[in-house]
Symmetry: C2
Subunit: 338 residues, 2 copies
């Protein structure tokens, strides 16, 4: 059995998450029992929701237990199997956590899924054809419900979720406008992903300037907003919403380290008769098959593009994760383990 | 033709609305043309939405034109008719505005409706069996959609809308909790209207104390919130919402004179997967018949109670309206003109 390097949650953050909240250890992988398989992880997924799990507060996510391996999505290869449905060499996606190997009870529903890597790269199952892609698909299709010709705005537009939101919006005949941090990300969002416009929020540090930029990018107002960020960006977009607009609240990363995120003009929800709805994609598993079918087809045919930031080695996971919280990633943040 | 005393909007408020924004004038009522009727108003309705119309800002309500009679709902009696469908003596409800008489093109759809006053008092058509009642019915039935056993909270609970929200919630098998200003209103809400609890927000001037009182009144959390007020009350209730809760945003009277109403923890919309939706009842006319049928039956059978604050004479309308904005009314605010 190989030695298995793991990252544990050692202690909880007070304010900003820091590297010393995590601890790298080495463990042995136990021998397989009947029904189990041993998976060697090729990629580990890093996602903003993990920050919430580091706290001990009441939230939608069960807190990550201290002293345990940080949970998270993984893709990899079966290297040993005592389960008749899985063979050595199978490529699989699961929740293998922040470690190099995992022993999986592969018979448990949803624990492990074989994936096709002929047409879709393995890492994409952690991004555009995985949880982030389905998050984009669900929030856009089921909460925003955009009609052709409407304007869809998404924050964190170059990220794993936002990049899919905008491209799906374009595929549905909408005007897609992104918000992203920095000229490189904005150029990518427009030139590579095909958004109609992208606003570099870092170039607009005050609310008035941000509103003005948004106004120029959304001449017909905003019908749908897909929120990943919160704070001043939420306020600015709220001011541009059209009557009967829909806002899918997917994330508010600007507040994940405890920063206050006041919404200054909630009365706009009333005056513009808006629907503002929060959601967690894991609570809507019934929609995953339809979403993954559409997303997989779009990726396989080259119509849905994505970009990855890849950190090397399990030991790099904490710093890569902290960078993700600060927007240092460019596209889906992964850790490559093989 | 009788002289017709009217209240005009003379100038727009800067900050708080004040009595000098209005002007009392006397006009002659023109002779009737074919199809028209002359209505003598018995009661004029005063409603919070009118404050929004006094501004010239972009809002859901078209601004009230300066120098024109303030718009508003009225009930009264036909005293002259050149329309075959209306006879002298008919009791009618319409949008007769802040004046003693109105000449109505009675053939226009929705302009004038005959009402039964055998089983329902005429004034109730401006309250529980009128726009405020339908507002309560729509927000509760179509946005909150409470299930039996759930907890419904409503602010401005003794008012024209809030009082109906809580009583309908009770009729649907819910726990109904109100928020109102002062011990008299709270006692009325519990003892007369049958709410399970009512919190006097004036007795809890700080957010912590208000939250604690709300926590005690909602031991199982809050599933539905019907928002009429905004500000610190919205924040407090948001902190008590259960997962998948629904918030119908009907009004935010705390900000109608321009006060800031920041929402301090909008991230709770995400973490509790809430739906927050604003609405205007006049945009959902298709639901009025069903709503009025239920509300009329409940009032006629004594199962839906209401209370009125009645100001005397058209000249009292401005002060009564300003009092309504400050919560000085107790129940539906009317002006009696006959």
């Amino acid at each position: 059995m190989p030695a298995n390097q793991q990252i544990l949650l050692d202690n909880r953050p007070t304010g900003d998450a820091v590297a010393s909240n995590f601890k790298l250890v080495s463990a042995e992988t136990p021998a397989l029992q009947d029904g189990q398989v041993l998976v060697r992880h090729h990629f580990l997924s890093l996602d903003p929701y993990m920050r919430g799990r580091m706290n001990d507060a009441k939230s939608y996510a069960v807190p990550q237990a201290l002293g345990q391996v940080m949970g998270g999505g993984t893709v990899g290869e079966v290297i040993e199997s005592k389960n008749p449905k899985f063979s050595v060499g199978d490529k699989v996606v699961g929740m293998g956590a922040w470690q190099q190997y995992s022993v999986v009870d592969a018979g448990q529903p949803g624990a492990l899924r074989k994936v096709d890597t002929k047409h879709i790269p393995l890492s994409a199952y952690l991004g555009a054809v995985g949880m982030p892609g389905v998050t984009a698909w669900y929030g856009l299709s089921k909460i925003c419900e955009p009609k052709s010709g409407e304007t869809v705005v998404v924050s964190a537009a170059s990220g794993a979720v936002g990049s899919v939101v905008g491209q799906l919006a374009k595929a549905r005949g909408c005007r897609a406008v992104g918000l992203a941090g920095g000229p490189d990300k904005c150029r990518y969002v427009v030139e590579e992903l095909g958004f109609d416009a992208c606003i570099d929020y870092k170039a607009h540090p005050d609310a008035k300037s941000l509103y003005q930029a948004l106004k120029e990018a959304t001449p017909d107002g905003v019908d749908c907003y897909f929120e990943n960020v919160g704070g001043v960006i939420f306020d600015a977009v709220l001011s541009r919403m059209n009557a009967f607009g829909r806002i899918a609240v997917c994330g508010m990363i600007a507040g994940y380290d405890g920063q206050p995120l006041p919404l200054l003009q909630p009365q706009l929800i009333l005056t513009n008769r808006l629907k503002v709805q929060g959601f967690i994609v894991s609570e809507h598993m019934e929609h995953w098959p339809a979403a993954l079918t559409e997303l997989g087809t779009l990726v396989a045919t080259g119509k849905l593009k994505f970009r990855e930031s890849i950190a090397q080695g399990i030991e790099s996971a904490p710093q890569a994760f902290l960078g993700l919280l600060k927007g240092k990633n460019f596209g889906k943040q992964l850790v490559k383990l093989v």
